[in-house]
């Protein structure tokens, strides 16, 4: 954690290049570089602000006509003569599905994290984390598709076997379960980070006291990592609340408030996805945007909480790591437990430790009895250790099982659809056999390519500004807003992109259009935070000595940045770009609202542009077996692309890169 000190030496300007000339091109370059980076850094808050403005402006009619009862009313009746809009049923559905997801995902995820950090054998740790990350890379629409045809019917069969009702395989429970699978990787990854941040001395202390591995995990590691784990839960909650496609395919889309596991419901995000394009009068459309605003506010709140919690744990682990490492050697094992576990867990000493402590002061007989007790306690502790280790390993298995289930099912159903036609032909008319999805593949490439060419420069230049220029006013805001922007549900971004881009087209050209560009804009907004954050980290990793050497050779700041710092951070930045691409290539919710579909070759992003995820959604929802087959094939292609972007690059670049500057 000496990064901070590194950065301050750069920022304090002690290595400013000599000012031997005033108006050389090199000097102008400095000003231009700074201006460019400032623009990019300022673009992030500007984007966020415009999202808020668009949401508020477009939902104004709804707030004015419905008032506060919009939030409290349970009736959502868009029938033309009724026109009652209340968000409560959607809020209820959102809360219930998210809660089911959290109830399943949090224990499983934390246990998996504990297994991967504490118990798993060395050879399994990296592949294990990799598998969990793969789970996060599966596109939402693929989860929904799989949930609709495998998880839902499977659940229905199980429920029927035990005498439950015929609930249709859709509803709050299946939606909650699919959400649980989807947020599990987030809980696991962030919890694992928190566990890894626990100082080694803490574990060493507990183990030296004779604690078993399970006792170390339960009484030392998890309590120490608690704020981080809670932060992880909030991040996962933010995801669950804003998740759209998988939920809309499984939740039942029936806004009602019923307290039953088998009830159907609807969530805010799913209501927007279903109804946004079809709202036929102003108040209806405006009410949907108001739903988007509510969702935006809720995720903002959740993410702010997560952020402050994670901030605290980072500061704590920084503070604890340093003194602890110095203090650990003089400490005797006897008083180890008093300083070892922080925050109210000192009473959590085990029986074994307690009896060990009291032993020297008791009489001989008592000592012998205590010895026997101790043995018994140790046997019990060992047994429990074995059981709990088994439980933690099982959690890991349960966590990664869906990945294999999905992969197997996708391959089995999808491979038959993947022939040459699939990659080269256009879709056939409804109900006819054959045809392909070549236009959707090209469309997806156009959309993600264009989005990347917008998002990468903005994200990279903004990251350079944050990491290399000192700005007390803009940088903290950009950093905060970037993190929050990363948590905005994609469907909300879709609404805003549609409103901004398509409406600008109407204003500027007199006709609506630019649908493809609206999709690009939405994808770029989703991509910027990922690129920015990872690039900033990458730039911070570049050692200061490189900058110093560059300045010593007489290079100016912009030359140092362009020829030394950014290239040095290059591999990490490229990895980040690929990760961001992997995330957006599977995005369907914002494209559903913006780029739409087209059964012809995409010519230009001005027109409706087909994309693989939207085709998967449409085909999955259709009743035609041939379309299902093609949708499975498309899902397989999409997942393959995501895996290559995500895993392949990491496997190739990751290994060399990790050794670069550490």
């Amino acid at each position: 954690m000496n990064l901070a000190s590194r950065v301050t030496t750069t920022e304090s300007g002690s290595f400013q290049p000599p000012a031997w000339s005033r108006f050389t091109p090199a000097r102008v370059g400095d000003g231009a570089a700074r201006a460019l980076c400032w623009l990019a850094a300022a673009a992030v808050p500007a984007i966020a602000l415009s999202l808020v403005v668009v949401l508020v402006l477009n939902s104004w009619t709804a707030w004015r006509s419905t008032g506060w009862s919009f939030l409290t009313s349970t009736v959502w009746d868009p029938e033309e003569s009724h026109r009652q809009f209340g968000a409560m049923a959607f809020v209820f559905g959102t809360i219930v599905t998210s809660m089911i997801a959290m109830l399943v995902a949090v224990p499983l995820g934390v246990a998996t994290a504990a297994y991967l950090c504490e118990i798993a054998p060395g050879w399994l740790r990296r592949p294990g984390s990799f598998l969990v990350e793969m789970l996060a890379a599966v596109p939402s629409v693929v989860y929904g598709f799989w949930g609709m045809y495998v998880l839902g019917p499977g659940l229905q069969k199980i429920v029927k076997l035990v005498g439950g009702p015929n609930f249709g395989g859709v509803g709050l429970l299946p939606a909650g379960l699919i959400l649980a699978i989807m947020v599990l990787p987030y809980v696991t990854a962030v919890s694992a980070d928190a566990c890894r941040a626990v100082p080694v001395a803490q574990r060493g202390g507990a183990l030296a006291l004779g604690a078993t591995r399970w006792q170390t995990i339960w009484y030392v590691v998890l309590p120490y990592a608690r704020p981080g784990i809670i932060g992880a839960c909030f991040i996962a909650l933010g995801r669950a609340v804003g998740e759209t496609m998988a939920v809309t395919m499984l939740v039942g889309n029936s806004p009602s408030i019923r307290f039953s596991l088998f009830a159907k419901g609807d969530t805010i995000a799913s209501a927007i996805a279903n109804q946004f394009a079809e709202a036929t009068y102003d108040q209806y459309l405006s009410s949907l945007v108001a739903l988007g605003l509510v969702l935006f506010a809720v995720t903002l709140l959740i993410n702010l909480t997560a952020r402050s919690l994670l901030r605290r744990v980072m500061r704590q682990s920084d503070a604890a790591a340093r003194p602890a490492s110095r203090r650990v050697s003089p400490l005797g094992p006897a008083d180890g437990h008093s300083s070892g576990t922080p925050q109210g867990t000192s009473q959590g000493t085990t029986q074994a430790e307690a009896s060990q402590q009291t032993m020297p002061r008791r009489a001989d007989v008592e000592a012998r009895r205590a010895g026997r007790e101790l043995q018994g306690a140790a046997v019990r502790a060992r047994r429990r250790d074995r059981i709990m280790s088994g439980v933690l390993s099982a959690s890991f298995l349960v966590t990664v099982t869906p990945l294999f289930l999905i992969l197997v099912y996708l391959i089995r159903e999808g491979v038959t659809a993947l022939n040459l036609d699939f990659f080269l032909k256009l879709p056939k008319p409804v109900g006819e056999q054959g045809g392909g999805l070549a236009n959707a593949i090209l469309g997806s490439l156009m959309l993600t390519g264009a989005a990347a060419s917008i998002a990468v420069p903005i994200g990279l230049f903004a990251a350079v500004y944050l990491a290399e220029y000192r700005d007390r006013y803009l940088s903290p805001w950009t950093r905060l807003i970037c993190e929050l922007l990363g948590g905005v549900p994609s469907i909300v971004v879709g609404i805003c992109a549609y409103a901004i881009v398509v409406r600008s087209s109407t204003a500027l050209r007199g006709v609506p259009g630019w649908y493809g560009w609206a999709g690009v804009c939405a994808l770029a907004i989703l991509m910027i935070p990922i690129v920015l954050r990872a690039s900033e980290e990458a730039l911070k990793m570049v050692p200061d000595s490189l900058r110093q050497a560059s300045y010593a050779l007489g290079a100016r700041k912009w030359q140092t940045l362009a020829y030394v710092v950014v290239p040095a951070a290059g591999p990490r930045i490229i990895t980040a770009v690929f990760l961001a691409l992997a995330r957006i290539i599977g995005e369907s919710a914002p494209l559903l609202l913006t780029a739409g579909v087209s059964s012809f070759w995409p010519r230009t992003l001005n027109d409706y542009t087909p994309s693989l995820p939207v085709f998967i959604f449409n085909y999955a929802n259709s009743p035609y077996d041939d379309w299902h087959r093609q949708a499975w094939g498309a899902a397989l292609v999409l997942l393959g692309a995501v895996m290559i972007l995500n895993g392949g690059i990491r496997l190739i670049a990751g290994r060399d890169q990790s050794k670069l500057f550490t």
Binding site: T248, G252, K264, Y284, V430, P571, R603
Partner: protein
Amino acid sequence: MDRRWSGRVSCLAMAALAVVGCGASDNAGQGKAAATAVSGGAGSETGGDRAPRALRLNAGGSTFVYPLMSKWASAYQKDAGVEINYQSIGSGGGIQKMTAKEFEFGCSDAPLNDEQLAKAGKVGGDVVHVPLAMGAVALVYNLEGVDKQLRLSGQLIADIFQRKIKKWNDPRIAESNSGIGVKLPDLEIVVVHRSDGSGTTHIFADFLAKVSASWKESVGVSTSLRWADDTVGAKGNEGVAGQVRLNPGAIGYVELTYALQNKMKYAAVRNESGEFVTPNLESVTAAARNRIGEIPSDLRYSLTNAPGVDSYPISGTVWSVSYVGMGGAQGKAVADFLRWAIREDGGQKYCAELHYAALPRELAERIEPVIARMEGSL
């Protein structure tokens, strides 16, 4: 740290190489997409005037007509070289996007109401309705072991969809089917409806409101409704058919083609004369024939609960809706397509194979001047 300095420099060189390498390949990938986009952009500036680029019309809406429309689109592309990109997003969406001029024409199974016409009047002027085809809304169900066609009355359907009847072996369903000797299972009914704005819903609700007072009072007629609790919403006719296929015990309403293409079971529905009628071409045509005298000049009408012993009561029409006097190549292309679509040797000849009822000749004659008005030549 400084001891490893030389190692770092070599690493740096490698890293720089990696950046250049990856950057180049990345650019190549993006460049291709960008090039496609740019060249496409240049093409669209000149629109359909250039010979090699086919004119493309944006249309969409009704999922009811999607099977027919996508057939038409592929046939018309071969006939006239015009591409029609039809997005099956629901009638509500068709009306909304046509009004906003996103679509050159929308398709809807429900005519625009007066408020929608007024709104469109403010945005782009008068709107014309052009009937394209007629179809039946079939009640599809998923009941294993029930081989005979179920018979349902409107009131019964209303009660099922309002969740007043929850089991398949409800005595009222049994009573309605007593004549055909079928044993209904003790199974919970899963009600599937549309989650998006839908003209199919409008036709369905329009019929139920005519035969059930409680439906009219508490649910109403619209493209989007407030459904009873504990029902399943699915997107599009495609989605409803998919959900019903997936769930034993499910019932839903879809355009007849979706039922037939997927070999689903569908019910006979009691019409105004008390007869149970199966949805098919003849019964829809009969409904149209029995209503044709009442069709007003703006061609906005309803076919539900039509009189006559052989009329299927949940019949509907798909309209194309578009602005009057669009002008330009696009306006002409829309008019040409619509003329082709209503011609007996044009679009109408595809109706039968997809189980839509073709337009009666006397109605087609009344449509011609409407298209001429739309084109602005009248």
